[in-house]
Symmetry: C2
Subunit: 189 residues, 2 copies
DNA sequence: CTTAAAAATTAATCATGATTAAGAAATATC
DNA sequence: GATATTTCTTAATCATGATTAATTTTTAAG
């Protein structure tokens, strides 16, 4: 019964004690070292990770050998390769710690069992997914209405602490730019 | 108790008769004429629409006066302005029929009541949202790994029927291009 | 402290796709 | 069937951000 996750769930849903007991019936606390992988290309993703501490990234290596970051996993957020997880296909993505992390590891099989019987836990995940959809939609919106330079400055202003925590080239990749382009922007002043 | 939606739900979840009865307790069938709006900028979005027939689009008009299409609502799919819906803010988006449509209109208030008590219905929406997330992730992936021309051809090959059904400039907007650019690509052969 | 590895910078060149503007084709309306 | 509106096309110019390659700075490891 991890208090950090319990607290997080209660922000969005109203689980009973039984709901929480059932959820935590099967969970693994895991310390993750810097650059350690929780998933590699080719593996079948079977887990969802709740980030307690640190930062992870979900990324893919495309045809030209470039990394493409889709998501960061920051504290009080979940990270997984949803495509591999729900479609039972080999992952095309990697999940890697960008620094020392602590996570809670839940198997998908277990979570599906919990969601099947607990409206509160199911609603918790449903609400998170709705928030993710809105965030993704805003990202699309910004990427069209802002120039690259504006997009970078906007991201930095919205996430001032975060941009200090991960290497610049990862911010570049997340925003869809080359590291050189970010350098160019920063060099302007 | 609309059979088309019932069928759709049963593809992803196992609702009881009570679940379905509760869901359909409050629903409005609505015929929508071409170019008719279900939502306009500035309004508060209070509904989610299940598309039975036809096609709608969710779009926004940006600073330069250009339309930016985020989603199409095709048969057996849902359309709404999630941002306005969940954050109770005035919509920045429009929902408009691209042709004659038939939809089922559910109020968010009602759906939240249903999801609070029915794991099956909640799971149905959770599963759809997971699918949406995967689709959005693939869209991001493609938009980086493909050139504009490749992206357009890829989209056409994956949605051959759909591209015949809506004006070309809407495909352009959905993919993040100008109509002129699509013309240029098509003019090449 | 030294060396190796990782991350960031700079600058020149290049390609993609936007912009602008005008006209043609298709569709809808009366 | 004529007119108006919507949609699509063509072509020239332009800007953004990628690519390439070399160098510097920072961080990590022995």
């Amino acid at each position: 019964m991890n208090p950090q996750l319990t607290e997080h769930i209660k922000q969005f849903a109203s689980p009973t004690e039984e709901d929480l007991a059932l959820l935590f019936e099967e969970v693994e606390y895991k310390a993750v070292g810097p650059k350690e992988f929780l998933l590699k290309e080719g593996q079948f993703c079977k887990f969802q990770y709740f980030v307690l501490k640190g930062c992870l990234r979900l990324y893919q290596i495309n045809d030209r050998g470039n990394e493409q970051i889709f998501n960061f996993g920051i504290p009080n957020w979940w990270i997984t390769d949803l495509d591999s997880l729900i479609n039972h296909t080999p992952a095309k993505k990697y999940i890697q710690a960008t620094k020392k992390c602590e996570v809670l590891k839940f198997s998908r099989v277990h979570l599906e069992k919990v969601m099947a019987v607990s409206p509160a836990i199911c609603n918790y995940f449903r609400i998170l997914l709705e928030k993710v959809k809105v965030a993704d939609q805003r990202k699309m919106e910004y990427s069209l209405k802002f120039s690259g330079e504006e997009l970078y400055h906007h991201f930095c202003s919205k996430n001032p602490a975060f941009v200090q925590e991960v290497p610049q080239y990862m911010i570049a990749s997340y925003l869809g730019f080359t590291p050189e382009f970010i350098s160019k922007i920063r060099g302007k002043k």
